[in-house]
């Protein structure tokens, strides 16, 4: 570190003498047709000295004597470099868009480089792709946009964090979500909600319309600058900044309507009553004798007709949403600013589930003099995440309140209301009406939706301030201090009348949580061109990040007056809830070296050394690095000589290798052995509640990336093919010990290994480019292979639970993460209608839920009639993979005159999904069923997949333990978005002095092509979990939405 500093100091001193006199050059920028280009940037190469052209395309610039080359660029134009020599007048004609040359990528620490000069693997997505969509957060719009990037919107409940994967799932116990760096702040991500009623995605604080671009660093070379946290990729989000020129005002608004789709078809009241009675008869327990009645019966409603309730109508709705945002930006040569305010109010497809965000942002940058510039950014957002009760979609799949599940379970022959209009309930549960049963549903969803509340109010402040010194042309020092404050106020209220709050006589809790982080980074950058061909860049820096969290809350039960609906009212108890406090610190030193020779041979190297307080005292520090090389073959003489240039307009080979780390998601005190304190009979207790590990260190990921990029037909067709290999080692596993060892917790140990390797192919092209009509197409596909290569010694597998009740997921060596773990079946015996299981020994076991008295049979029997051991989850086998083997997107834009049609298809496949919901849909307790049960076996010879129905049977259908019959292929192709837009002709606009007016109509999730029988194969009941993906258990499916919008720019 010190040596490097001295070296730099030396360089600084040597070059200190270069500053000298200056002179003025003038000129005009036009396009190929001679039309003036306004706002073109004219920059002295290798400096920040520059200006922009005026409305008439003209410019005037004071250049220092050392200036050799001017770089002239403009939006939509290919940039040009012009030798200055002794010339004073520069009339420049820019040719139209050459995307490949124009594109800039953000590589961390204040640096953006031209894609062409960058050899790491970074995918870039423009802000347009994520703006004006009926979603809550930008990342939900990234699916299919870039190779290697996989997005799953896990549920239709608003504002749930997307399952965000860059090149596969790279961890088991920690997070596999990428690091999100917004304008230099590694920001909090994940779910800020402490309730399971609503989600509060921390990323939704950013108004998607404020985003300029998103750069996704995938390989070690690109991500190693954030080495300690780069194993899952790094997402650089750059928000919009002002540009020199006339102030611009932009107004965006949209309205949308969303609906649930593909809900399972259920028995109606008549079918239900008849079917359940038959099941009772089959079980031998149907009974009409007064005093011991046991049967189901219809009830007449207020209209005198039998009640026939479609519970979907009470739980789902058409959600209406709208959003407006207004921005103002502009600046001059020394000062640039951007400010915006926005408000969005979105309704989910589940009643009472709303999302409201008020956001404002402001950034300003000012060049005080040649040496000194500074800037600040401040962004505030308030988000209200509203709901009534659990939907069962946020990790609590089996919640009896779950609004995703209640419409499936509740008997259709009862109503939420009694005939006098009062609520139908009995204690905590919905009343049975005429059914002679103890229970025909869980909670009455109407009472819950009318009376209960679960809200999370998030306040978010993101800000930074920087100062930048450029004492000499080659050297830039930048110091940036950033904060990320996230406060969440969680509030839950359950009314005492029935349902969730009944047992407690009302239940209210409020919990406040606060996360505060500051990041201070200091970087010193050196850039110089030596001679004609040697271009050198050097960066050194330090960064400190400190994060504090605390939370506290109160839970009160037993309300004094039912009108009190908050904790401030009168209640019986004052128990604490959600208590937490902690702090962590990460200290980093890093450097970057880039070199290219004649912009033909490129080299780069990154190194970063990090210490983290989360880790064990013996292994706190880690060193991470990445190197890359690139070769632009098209610039070689032989390329042209060999005639290759006739076929390929450009070609580059590149490769990178390096090692990065991961601790995201690791508890900040995970390495310590701890005693927690509580009470016993009013006296203090100390209980050994965490077993630690002094050797706990970083998870490391060794990444290899080899790729070729080429263009054909003057880059009308571009292709990028990459092979990657992420070898992830030292995976921190919560090594499970046998429960009988009595350890208080599983011990985090760096022990596991896995890899993700695959191929990414991205093709881009403009098949048609005419004056009035153009078609651009982008296609990408990623083939990924995930395999676990080692777990802890003595640990053959890791089970993962869903909703705390069943464990359909298992991770084993030699397979991909989170395989489905189910007990096999072999259909239904046509002779007897029994479910046939295959037990662990591979033998067929015939199951009958009720053994007829005197039959001498047993519940579980072998084919020969002998008694078999009970079949259970212990007979489960490692069955199918849940991780997709391929995924991608196909994006087409058609422009015809002022119309624009964009379609984005996303697809994935090679994976399987456990549709656990379907186990419930054929459960033979009081639960309502899918109409599929009408196929149930009734007489010998029936060939069917539904066994004879015995009332009470929860085994043969998969409720009791997971079965293979509920596993389905997850392949799909989805028309994720289709947008039709119309831009008002400029002839009209110039009259009213408006820059642009654009109308658009967009449909999201309009069509799904899949054989998956559940509502939506894009689902994750267990959220962003690593080893319990591919589970669809009682979740609310994704919405289908149509929106219309307007964009006006002044």
């Amino acid at each position: 570190m010190r040596k490097l500093f001295l070296l730099l100091l030396g360089i600084v001193m040597l070059s200190g003498q270069v500053l000298a006199q200056s002179r003025t050059v003038v000129g005009k920028v036009t396009d190929a047709n001679g039309i003036p280009v306004a706002n073109a940037s004219i920059l002295v190469k290798g400096s920040n000295i520059g200006t922009t052209s005026g409305e008439d395309g003209s410019f005037s610039l004071n250049i220092p004597e050392y200036a050799r080359v001017l770089v002239i660029s403009a939006v939509g134009m290919a940039s040009q470099e012009i030798s200055i020599g002794n010339r004073g007048l520069f009339n420049v004609s820019l040719s139209a868009d050459d995307r490949d040359l124009q594109e800039v990528v953000v590589v961390g620490y204040g640096t953006a480089v031209k894609r062409k000069e960058y050899t790491g693997n970074i995918a870039n997505v423009k802000g347009d792709a994520v703006s004006n969509r009926p979603v809550q957060s930008f990342e939900h719009s990234l699916g299919g946009r870039a190779p290697g990037v996989q997005i799953v919107t896990p549920t239709g409940v608003l504002n749930a964090p997307a399952v965000f994967r860059v090149r596969g799932t790279n961890s088991i116990s920690l997070s596999s979500q990428p690091l999100i760096v917004v304008d230099g702040i590694p920001m909090y991500s994940g779910d800020a909600s402490a309730t399971s009623i609503v989600a509060a995605n921390a990323l939704s604080s950013i108004n998607p319309n404020d985003i300029e671009s998103i750069d996704i660093a995938k390989d070690a070379a690109a991500s190693a600058i954030y080495g300690s946290r780069a194993a899952n990729g790094v997402i650089f989000v750059t928000t919009k900044k002002g540009k020199a020129g006339r102030p611009k005002v932009n107004y965006d608004t949209w309205y949308s309507w969303s609906k649930a789709q593909n809900l399972p078809k259920l028995l109606d009241a008549f079918q239900y009553t008849e079917f359940k009675n038959q099941s009772l008869k089959n079980a031998g327990s149907y009974n009409e004798t007064p005093g011991s009645e046991n049967y189901f019966a219809l009830t007449d409603g207020p209209d005198g007709q039998p009640i026939n309730t479609n519970w979907y109508d009470y739980v789902y709705r058409t959600g209406f949403s709208h959003s407006s945002s207004l921005s103002l930006s502009g600046g001059n040569e020394s000062t640039r600013y951007y400010t915006s305010v926005s408000y969005t109010d979105q309704e989910g497809i589940i009643r009472r589930n709303d999302f409201k965000r008020l956001a404002a942002t402001m950034n300003i940058e000012h060049k005080i003099n040649k040496v000194l510039s500074m800037g600040t950014k401040i962004q505030y957002a308030n988000e209200k995440n509203l709901g009534a009760v659990s939907t069962g979609s946020l990790g609590d799949a089996f919640s009896t309140a779950g609004l995703g599940r209640v419409p499936l379970v509740t008997a259709p022959n009862i109503s939420p209301y009694n005939n006098d209009g009062s609520y139908n309930y009995s204690g905590a549960l919905i009343g049975v009406m005429n059914n002679k049963q103890g229970q025909v549903g869980f909670n009455n969803p109407v009472i819950q939706l009318d009376k209960n509340r679960g809200n999370v109010d998030v306040s978010r402040l993101l800000g930074n301030a920087f100062i930048q010194l450029k004492p000499i042309r080659q050297v830039t020092f930048r110091s940036q201090y950033s904060i990320d404050y996230l406060a969440a106020d969680n509030e839950v209220y359950y009314h005492p009348i029935s349902g969730e709050g009944f047992a407690d006589g009302g239940n209210a809790s409020s919990a406040y949580s606060q996360n505060r982080r500051w990041v201070w980074s200091n970087t010193l950058q050196f850039d110089e061109q030596f001679g004609e061909n040697h271009n050198l860049g050097l960066l050194v820096g330090t960064e400190q990040q400190k994060s504090n969290n605390k939370s506290y809350g109160i839970n009160r039960i037993g309300v004094v007056d039912p009108d009190f609906t908050n904790i401030q009212g009168g209640w019986r108890t004052p128990n604490v809830t959600a208590m937490g406090i902690g702090e962590n610190y990460i200290l980093s030193y890093f450097g970057r070296f880039t070199y290219n020779y004649a912009r033909k041979y490129h080299l780069s190297a990154n190194i970063r050394r990090d210490g983290a307080s989360h880790l064990g005292k013996n292994n706190r520090w880690g060193t991470f690095w990445g190197v890359s090389a690139g070769w632009d073959i098209d610039k070689e003489g032989f390329f042209e000589n060999a005639g290759l240039s006739k076929v390929f307009s450009s070609m580059r080979l590149r490769g990178s290798y390096g090692k990065v780390g991961n601790i995201d998601g690791l508890g900040q005190y995970a390495s310590l052995s701890l005693y927690g304190s509580s009470l016993y009979a009013g006296n203090g207790t100390f209980v050994f509640n965490q077993a630690g590990n002094d050797d706990l260190g970083w998870e490391t990921s060794t990444k290899t990336d080899i790729g070729i990029n080429f263009g054909m037909f003057n880059d009308r067709l571009t292709a990028e093919v990459s092979y990657y290999n992420n070898d992830v080692n030292d995976l921190i596993l919560a090594v499970p010990a046998p429960p009988s060892a009595g350890l208080p917790s599983t011990i985090p140990t760096n022990i596991g290994a896995l890899y993700n390797r695959g191929v990414e192919i991205a093709l881009g092209g403009t098949p048609i480019q005419k004056k009035d009509f153009s078609w651009t197409a982008n296609f990408n596909v990623t083939f990924n292979k995930n395999e676990v290569t080692s777990l802890a010694p003595g640990v053959d597998n890791i089970l993962a639970a869903t909703g705390g009740l069943e464990s359909p997921s298992i991770t084993v060596v030699g397979e991909s993460l989170g395989m489905l773990f189910v007990t096999r079946t072999a259909g239904v015996d046509p002779a007897t209608g029994r479910r046939i299981f295959i037990n662990a020994d591979g033998r067929k076991v015939y199951f009958q839920h009720i053994v007829p008295a005197g039959s001498g049979g047993a519940r579980f029997m072998y084919e020969d009639g002998s008694v078999a051991p009970t079949v259970s989850a212990a007979d489960a086998v490692v069955y199918k993979n849940t991780i997709p083997k391929w995924y991608g997107g196909f994006d087409n834009t058609f422009r015809f005159k002022n119309f624009e049609l964009n379609t984005l298809f996303t697809f994935q496949g090679g994976n399987y999904i456990y549709w656990g919901t379907y186990a419930g849909l054929r459960d033979q307790r009081f639960w309502n069923n899918s109409v599929d049960v009408l196929r149930a076996w009734t007489k010998p010879g029936d060939i069917t997949d539904m066994p004879k129905s015995y009332f009470g049977d929860n085994v043969s259908n998969g409720s009791s333990f997971p079965l293979d019959i509920n596993v389905f292929k997850g392949d799909f192709i989805k028309l994720r978005t289709v947008t039709l837009a119309y831009n008002l002709p400029s002839a009209v606009l110039t009259k009213v002095k408006i820059n642009n007016v654009r109308f658009h109509i967009t449909a999201n999730n309009l069509w799904i092509g899949t054989k998956y029988p559940g509502p939506d194969p894009e689902v994750s009941t267990n959220g962003t979990g690593n080893i319990n993906q591919g589970i669809d258990r009682n979740s609310v499916g994704n919405a289908r939405a149509i929106s219309v919008g307007l964009n006006v720019g002044f």
Binding site: F477, F686, P736, G794
Partner: protein, 482 residues
């Protein structure tokens, strides 16, 4: 030039400014393992923590009692919910039944390991911190807790002692502290081996526990000499070592009435049986698990939530009384005070021993003096195989406390077997919803009874005992299933 140097130096100084000390972070609301025996407060806190551990998350705080109750023939499952024991009730738990088979197994072993960790920590540090006398008391408490956890495990996961005289598979016997990573494969010891350890621990506890504590609450919530003796009575009864039952019980029960423990805490029956369910710290309650609004039992662990109907205490009415069960027994006349602990709601009858509403903070009874009396009576009857007067006197003590109109006499019983049956019936009445039903069936080799649509389970059947936790089977290569 000077300016440039200044800027560069400034930049350099910022680049190296950082604070390595901040990398050492410890939580402000927990205590590090290395200092956990550093002062008497922490040592005593650990003792309390052992009790807290068997109380919380559904061991002796409620679930253990409920699972034993519903393995008998007196309760009806009205909710068909496996989370609240539907599969236990209908005798079909699987290895993976999370809330029963897995939860009880894990919880008991967690407490056992905490006891082992504590015992080892006392030897290395704790004894010198609190002094020899207190240290011996505390260690006795730890061994007591270890013993009653092993006993809980044996009653559910192992064949009863009578089957092969303890030669069948018990549970893994863990006696050393586990604090870090390691190879934890361990085979199941035999039932007899585990019982021997339980008895060794209880004997140590009896010798080293204090005779009593300073308050009735402490006498009810922490083990003293008589607690250890009372548990030995239960353990010997499970082993059918009736002579030993008599020997131990005689330490607590005088030869003739009044039946008051002669030494230590003066345990005796309370005049009104109903009082012990509202006054938790009477001398009848030898050990109970305390609850309060500050120490609530937690969701779906609460006795009152299971046994109370919504109109009684806001409970969920998980289990009502089966009309074919003890509630309809002619041996339980309406004059009995214990009948007043049953509430009728609609067509169903519910036990009302836990009347407090949410968060259901009625204390959970673990062992009562009445059990010692009836165990003694039973042991006398079975070991002598006679209709013994003292046995009848003990039976009368329990019955007449609640129903003065009934007096058992020797003439009521044709033989010892009839008297033993009467004692068992008395236990079903007295300890209804207190967690002895399953234990009383299996220790005697009686079938788990048929009820509602559920068939009886014969002692020879696999379902007679619980399967072993599937997690244990997966992770402990030496452990085998039942």
């Amino acid at each position: 030039m000077k300016k440039q140097l200044l800027y560069t130096l400034l930049a350099g100084s910022l680049l190296t400014a950082c604070n390595k000390d901040d990398l050492e972070q410890i939580p402000s609301n927990q205590v590090e393992y290395s200092v956990s025996f550093d002062n008497p407060v922490r040592v005593l806190g650990q003792v309390n923590g052992l009790y807290g551990t068997i109380k919380n998350a559904g061991l002796y705080g409620g679930r253990y009692q409920i699972f034993n109750d519903i393995r008998g023939g007196d309760f009806m499952n009205d909710r068909t919910n496996v989370v609240t024991g539907f599969d236990i009730w209908n005798y079909t738990p699987s290895n993976s039944s999370a809330n029963s088979v897995q939860a009880i197994w894990s919880r008991a072993y967690y407490a056992i390991n905490l006891a082992n960790v504590f015992l080892s920590g006392m030897d290395t540090k704790g004894t010198e911190v609190v002094g020899e006398t207190l240290a011996n008391n505390y260690k006795a408490e730890a061994r007591f807790i270890r013993a009653i956890c092993y006993h809980a495990l044996l009653t559910l996961y192992a064949r009863p002692y009578w089957d092969g005289n303890g030669s069948k598979l018990g549970v893994p016997l863990r006696l050393t502290p586990n604090t870090g990573s390691g190879n934890y494969d361990l085979a199941r010891s035999t039932v007899a081996e585990v019982y021997n350890q339980i008895l060794e621990d209880l004997n140590y506890a009896e010798q080293n526990l204090p005779a009593s504590y300073s308050s009735a609450t402490l006498n009810t919530t922490r083990a003293h000499k008589n607690t250890a003796i009372a548990f030995k009575v239960r353990v010997y009864l499970a082993m059918q070592r009736y002579q030993d039952v008599i020997t131990e019980a005689n330490k607590l029960v005088p030869a003739t009435a009044p039946f008051v423990a002669p030494s230590g805490v003066p345990h005796q029956l309370q005049d009104d049986v109903r009082s012990i369910y509202t006054t938790y710290t009477t001398t009848e309650s030898i050990l109970s698990m305390p609850f309060s609004d500050n120490e609530a039992p937690g969701t779906q662990n609460q006795l009152g939530y299971y046994y109370g109907a919504s109109s009684m205490n806001g409970g969920n009415g998980e289990y009502s009384l089966l009309s074919t069960g003890i509630v309809s027994s002619p041996d339980w006349p309406a004059t009995d005070d214990r009948r007043s602990l049953i509430t009728t709601v609609g067509t169903r009858q519910y036990v009302n021993k836990y009347p407090k509403g949410s968060p259901f903070t009625d204390w959970a009874p673990v062992i009562r003096y009445a059990e010692v009396l009836l165990s003694l009576a039973e042991a006398i009857t079975r070991s002598t195989n006679t209709v013994d007067d003292r046995a009848i006197a003990l039976l009368n003590a329990v019955r007449q406390r609640s129903d003065a109109s009934v007096t058992f006499t020797a003439g009521d019983f044709a033989n010892a077997a009839e008297l033993a049956d009467a004692i068992l019936t008395e236990r079903r009445i007295e300890f209804l919803a207190e967690g002895l039903a399953g234990f009383d069936l299996t220790r005697l080799g009686l079938p788990l009874p048929a009820k509602a649509s559920v068939s009886a389970v014969q002692p020879s059947q696999q379902e007679y005992i619980w399967p072993i936790s599937s997690t244990e089977l997966l992770l402990n290569k030496l452990c085998v299933d039942n």
